[in-house]
Amino acid sequence: MDSVILKTAIRFLLPLLLLASVFLFLRGHNEPGGGFVGGLVASGAIALYAMTCSAAAARQMVRVSPRVLIGSGLLLALGSGLAPLFFGRPFLTGLWTTVTTASLGELHPGTPLLFDLGVYCVVTGVTLVFIFSLLEE
């Protein structure tokens, strides 16, 4: 697609959309949002880029192969589920810890965050595989 408007807009939209996807991902911690939506927004942003420029350019921008994203995302999600087993808890039980930081106050990161990150990677990876193979057909 050769559109000047899109080409100009994507420069600003791409970082904004990616930022929004990270925001959605982190928001999913306690409110509606999460890795699935975040991953979809991220892959939507990259799809927009791929359509305005080219699939090859988008591949170069993402750097890692989408399949690597899928594989590592699956392993990450599985690992976060298996981690509680080492503490004698059932599969997928949430493990939480408290981190106190100077700027953000008290944070409660836990294995569900890792699980969500895995989902984020898998969703992004799968959608990118679809989009790239459709564009390159």
């Binding site: 192969s65 699956l74 392993l75 599985l78 509680p84 087993l85 059932p90 599969f91 939480w96 409660h108």
Partner: protein, 542 residues
């Protein structure tokens, strides 16, 4: 290895293997090595699960520490453990077999990751204790099987796949609708909780409707009469390794689900549900074997025999006595091993002669005597000749039928057995005994060249044939395990107690009297009960 780990490994291992396979997408040797390695690990973990279940009765895992019936529960009883063990064995055999028979193009397109995905779905379906979770595992399995079936994109594959996909999607839609209705009726989807609530459900009509919806949904997946048409239309189209794994595992997931739901949940109106099951079992046997007789291609014959044998598995369930159910379990064990093996042998025959059409094959008893022997063993076992595994499976079922005084089904089972024998001798006579046809191309009838190729081709067949003979020779222990499984299946209270330790059972029905004795030693393993039931999370963030 703790019980918790044993229950989750058969699901987690294929997932991990699949993830690693996706990471190593480009390299064909790596795909093959990791695929076989993952299957081997699964086989080991399945054996460990069986060992644990044998010692501890019913293992329960409340995923995420959410207590049942609110969370997803994974339950491993004897039936689940046996099925997982068989799935592990079959996938191990088939992945070794696929090293030579699956071409590089299919490996490049992800044959091995898909097999692992399929396996995860199958093991998940065997282990789950939640109806909606069962639906999800079914879909995981189906999506993987869709792609495996069409991988390669040949004409026949695409045509077969359309029928397979359509009928399976319809059955999934029915399953989903059934889940919706059962949730509306009872307010729960946990199988143990459902079993409890359906016992005292006021409206018998709704329970019957639900039972029929599940019968249609699972019956389509299990390929029972009259819902089996997708099976013979599609199973002979993909590569042999794929056919073999479908033949061994997929329909059996449907049978497993039928056994699970109709021994645990829908047992209030036995006169209606189980008599209908008995009728279906008989018709499935007869139509399947008649269909097989009309065919003249190895894999098509074998596909129809799958349908016919699903009938035997349902027969035990329908009779609903401990002996008959044990016969069903024994039959499933025997059938999965033998049927997979026959498909694998059929594949070697097709390699030798370049086709599976009986008229164009021949002379293999002279040129491939080992293969002929292996086929003879498996085929006779399928027909039920002593001392092979099929004989004892059928013997138990028929004993069960006589004991329950259902002579019609016994007659059908014996008649169908005879016709199976006829089908098998037809293949034997055409493929092995008949002299090779004149016009056969000499180069098509070649042996695989290198030693490793031969090992990968014959190794799995030899392994499964050993199991067939082994099950026959050691019928005692297998029978004991089947009987224990059947008793456990009929003891619904033990299952409910294991999943819902705090539930108060109403006065138990006949045949489930000794449940409390079984539950005693299990009390220490229940994860959910000890902790606060409200929330497993430590703290909440503002």
């Amino acid at each position: 290895m703790s019980a918790q780990v044993a229950v989750i490994l058969p699901i987690a291992l294929p997932l991990a293997t699949m993830a690693v396979l996706v990471l190593a997408w480009k390299s064909i040797p790596a795909q093959k090595i990791i695929g076989v390695g993952g299957s081997t690990l699964l086989l080991i973990s399945a054996a460990a699960l069986w060992w644990q279940v044998d010692r501890n009765d019913i293992l329960v895992l409340q995923v995420g520490n959410w207590p049942a019936p609110f969370g997803i529960t994974l339950v491993a009883d004897r039936l689940s453990a046996i099925m997982v063990l068989l799935a592990g064995l079959m996938v191990f055999a088939v992945s070794v077999y696929s090293l030579v028979t699956i071409d590089d193009r299919r490996v490049e397109f992800g044959f091995h990751p898909l097999v692992q995905l399929l396996l995860m779905g199958v093991c998940g379906a065997f282990l789950t204790g939640d109806l909606f979770n069962l639906y999800v595992w079914f879909e995981v399995m189906l999506i993987a099987s869709f792609v495996l079936l069409t991988l390669g994109g040949e004409r026949g594959q695409l045509e077969g796949a359309i029928k397979y996909v359509t009928l399976n999607l319809i059955s999934s839609a029915v399953f989903l609708a059934a889940i919706g209705v059962i949730y509306a009726a009872t307010g729960t989807l946990n199988m143990a909780d459902l079993a409890l609530k359906l016992r005292s459900f006021p409206d018998e009509g709704i329970v019957s409707v639900l039972a029929m919806l599940f019968l249609i949904a699972f019956g389509t997946k299990a390929a029972v009469f009259p819902l089996f048409f997708w099976l013979p239309a599609s199973y002979h189209t993909p590569p042999v390794a794929v056919s073999a794994i479908f033949a061994g595992l997929l329909t059996k997931v449907g049978v497993y689900s039928l056994i699970r739901t109709f021994t645990l949940m829908f047992v209030t109106d036995l006169d209606f549900t189980h008599n209908l099951l008995l009728l279906i079992a008989g018709l499935t046997m007869v139509t399947g074997v008649l269909g097989a007789m009309a065919q003249s291609e190895i894999r098509r014959i074998l596909s129809f025999h799958i349908v016919s044998q699903i009938g035997y598995m349902l027969m035990g369930l329908a009779l609903f006595t401990p002996l008959a159910l044990a016969g069903s379990v024994f039959y499933i064990i025997h059938h999965i091993v033998v049927k997979t093996n026959l498909f694998l042998i059929g594949g070697v025959v097709e390699r030798h002669c370049g086709t599976g059409r009986l008229a164009e094959t021949g002379g293999l008893s002279g040129s491939a005597p080992v293969l002929a022997t292996l086929f003879f063993l498996s085929a006779m076992s399928l027909a039920g000749i002593p001392p092979l595994s099929g004989f004892f499976a059928k013997l138990t079922l028929i004993q069960g039928g006589l004991e329950a005084e259902r002579y019609a089904i016994v007659a059908a089972a014996l008649g169908v057995s005879l016709l199976t024998m006829f089908s098998m001798t037809k293949i034997w006579a055409e493929v092995f005994w008949k002299p090779a046809p004149e016009e056969a191309l000499p180069e098509a009838c070649g042996e695989p060249h290198s030693m490793t190729d031969r090992f990968s081709l014959y190794g799995p067949i030899l392994l499964l044939a050993t199991f067939t003979v082994g099950i026959g020779l050691m019928a005692g222990p297998v029978m004991k395990a089947s009987l224990a499984t059947a008793r456990q299946l009929l003891d619904q209270d033990a299952y409910i107690q294991a999943v819902l330790p705090n539930s108060r059972l109403p006065e138990s029905e006949a045949g489930a009297a000794d449940s409390n004795a079984d539950v005693g030693p299990l009390a220490g393993q229940r994860p959910a009960a000890q902790e606060s039931p409200q929330s497993p999370r430590g703290g909440t963030v503002e």
